[in-house]
């Protein structure tokens, strides 16, 4: 029979048996063989794998001295060269979860497959969701045996190079990667089944985990509008009449820059909207300024409320654009505006 896979197990100070909160600053240390929950882990792994060493570190130490901690762990892993690393489970302990996530990332960076376990809302998941494979646990450590059993099973799958099934089936925390699957029955039957389960108070699992929205640190406020130069951007599909640049009405990948030199207002004669996602009649026959308020902004410039308007207007169509295209266009516009030290942007989204 093949040699058992070697496993290094990571635990915090409490589960590693060196103490409780008072040992939260304990530096990285090594113990031989399985320790504490590691014994349950070893039992679950059976003779397929052997926990040869346990790394223990204090929660606070790991999160506050993360570089030193990682260096110490890397040294141990480099010496032992285990087939797998298993960290935790951390349940809902946030510092522990972050530490487990760091250990897993480190191991993976060294080419060693890694599995951890924690509650889906643990900071370790929220910070490193895409990068770690975490078995889903509750918050109650009394389920240790079952969580550890699932971690062992998943770890062995990784060790055997087997492809993982969907998160909901294999019991791990979704990593935000979504792929097509073939169910055994049509969507409308699954919808009714899910409704029935909810109504009956039976367990059910949503087919979608809604995450992935950006959190963007807000720009610091401007000090003084009167000293500020403002740039204008619109996703309303505004172009000079005739659309020589051929801005598309949907699925835009590009934006265009149009000169505002000497232009104090957008006129119906000179401008039109090619946006395919809403009724553009009003913009095209009454007043394009509704989708890019140049006339108003010029008035405020004239009265000194703002210092100046950036002479280039950025235009694209915000209709079915890919998120990646939007991110890229935004970054390109921002880069140009930063180069010219523009203070603020008004962006009209139709």
């Amino acid at each position: 029979m093949a040699d058992p896979n070697t496993v290094v197990h990571f635990l915090n100070q409490f589960f590693g048996g060196i103490g409780a909160e008072e040992q939260a600053y304990a530096p990285v240390q090594e113990k031989e063989g399985p320790v504490g929950p590691g014994r349950a882990l070893q039992a679950a792994l059976g003779d397929q794998a052997a926990v040869v060493s346990t790394i223990v570190a204090g929660d606070n130490y790991f999160t506050e001295e993360v570089e030193s901690a990682k260096a110490a762990v890397a040294e141990i892993l480099d010496r032992i060269k285990p087939d797998m690393v298993i960290a935790g489970p951390a349940f809902d302990a946030g510092r522990y979860g972050l530490a487990c996530a760091e250990v897993c990332r480190l191991a993976q960076g060294m080419g060693i497959p890694a599995v951890t376990g924690m509650f889906p809302d643990n900071a370790g998941v929220l910070t490193y969701r895409k990068e770690i494979l975490a078995v889903s646990s509750g918050i109650d450590i009394s389920e240790m045996a079952s969580v550890v059993g699932r971690m062992a099973r998943l770890a062995m799958k990784l060790a055997r190079g087997e492809e993982l099934g969907p998160a909901s089936e294999e019991g791990y925390v979704p990593r935000g990667i979504r792929r097509e699957v073939m169910h055994d029955r049509p969507g409308y039957e699954r919808a009714v089944d899910m409704l029935n389960a909810r109504l009956a108070g039976k367990p059910w699992v949503s087919e979608m985990l809604i995450t992935g929205y950006d959190v963007v640190p807000p720009a610091t406020p401007l000090k003084n509008l009167k000293e500020s130069t403002i740039a204008l951007v619109s996703t309303g599909g505004l172009v000079p009449r005739g659309n020589e640049d051929r801005l598309v009405g949907s699925r835009a990948e590009q934006f265009f820059r149009y000169s505002l030199e000497g232009v104090s207002s957008l006129s119906v004669e000179d401008w039109e909207s090619v946006h395919g996602g809403f009724g553009t009649l009003i913009l095209n026959t009454k007043n394009p300024n509704y989708a890019m308020p140049l006339q108003t902004v010029r008035y405020l410039e004239d009265t000194g409320a703002i210092k100046a308007v950036y002479p280039w207007f950025f235009s694209t169509t915000g209709n079915a654009a890919a998120v990646s295209a939007g991110r890229r266009m935004g970054a390109e516009i921002a880069a140009e505006l930063n180069e010219h030290h523009i203070d603020g942007v008004l962006l009209v989204a139709t």
Binding site: P221, S228, I230, P293, I306, V348
Partner: protein, 73 residues
């Protein structure tokens, strides 16, 4: 600046100003030319004021109400 603030607020835009309608975000052609203009000024001023306001996350700014008119004597 949008007639649909829920969307930019959901996707991480930090300063969001409510406009009128999708097809005319920065004004209202149903109003008289004068009132439409005044509404447009209020919307843009709200937007500019948001740039000098500190925010900690996605924040909705509502354009201010018009000043109450003095009754004609």
């Amino acid at each position: 600046m949008t007639a649909m603030p829920a969307i930019p607020l959901a996707v991480g835009a930090n300063r969001v100003v409510r406009g009128v309608r999708v097809s005319h975000v920065c004004g209202d052609p149903a109003l008289s030319a004068q009132k439409d203009w005044e509404l447009g000024v209020r919307i843009v001023e709200t937007a500019l004021n948001s740039l000098v306001t500190a925010v900690s996350g996605p924040t909705l700014f509502e354009p201010s109400e018009p000043e109450p008119q003095e009754a004609a004597l």
